[in-house]
Amino acid sequence: MNGITGPDLIRAASAIGAGLALIAGIGPGIGEGYAAGKAVEAIGRQPESSGAVTKTLLIGCAMAETTGIYGLFIGLALLFFNPLL
């Protein structure tokens, strides 16, 4: 266990942290899947309103995606431009 310096430890911990940060992807995945399923139901019920439904779905997905993007951003920050090192 000799020879492990502080920066090495930070690098190793950052890699684990990046992996943990990407768990944030679960939430948007479930949420967007649910939203898309509901949109399919709505279009199935009212095919003439497919344009409005699709537009709303895309905006809703973008909103739901935000938390996932935050997690991705933290993960990339830890891997590529780590502020701790």
């Binding site: 905006i59 993007i69 991705l72």
Partner: protein, 236 residues
Amino acid sequence: MEGPRIYFTIPIFGGINVNETEVNLLIVTLLLLVVSLILTHKMEKIPRKKTQLLAEKIVITIDNLVESTMGKRYMAFAPYMMTLFASSVFGSLISLVGLRSTTQDFNTTLCWALVTAFFIHYIGFKSSGFKGYLHSFAEPIAVMTPINMIGIVTTPMSMALRHFGNVLGGSAIMTLLYSAFAGVSSMIHLPIPALQVGVPAILSLYFDFFGGCMQAFIFCMLTMVYISNVGPSDDS
């Protein structure tokens, strides 16, 4: 993966760095200028040329989108929305020709989001007056005031991070895939790097092309929705 290359430094105010993003933004601006000039060259009252028909189609499409999302009152925003959409799409798609996409820089998207934030508060101020503007923070109940105050910062922040994160994530995945395919082709001793050339092109269609257009559209839609939410609605 690294940040934008710095080309040169202007030696005033302690040195201003001119980097890849700024140069590419200038390229995108010039490109859009040339495209606009070509599309609107020698316009006629009864269009005969295809370029004018295309230009009219684009303008009508964006006008309809703005009208259906924001209402007739905000038609003045249609040119700005088209500008935003075009710069975002071209800025993202410029990566297809090997340049660094402009939206891969947080400063670009933050700048656009700050313009949106300015419009949100300006329209809110103009449409409901000083007292009404201050009162809008205490909506729907007074307890919500701190959360609404945080919203001043988080709205542009989340808009900027969403666009930036999507483009950056896409390009990071593409970089990883390129090196992975390069490793696979050298491992099985292919004479030509077929995996490296063929497969990423299809994935790039999704991550670069679809993602870029999608994020540009979402950014414009969110801008329109936020702005039209603070102002009075059409029927009042």
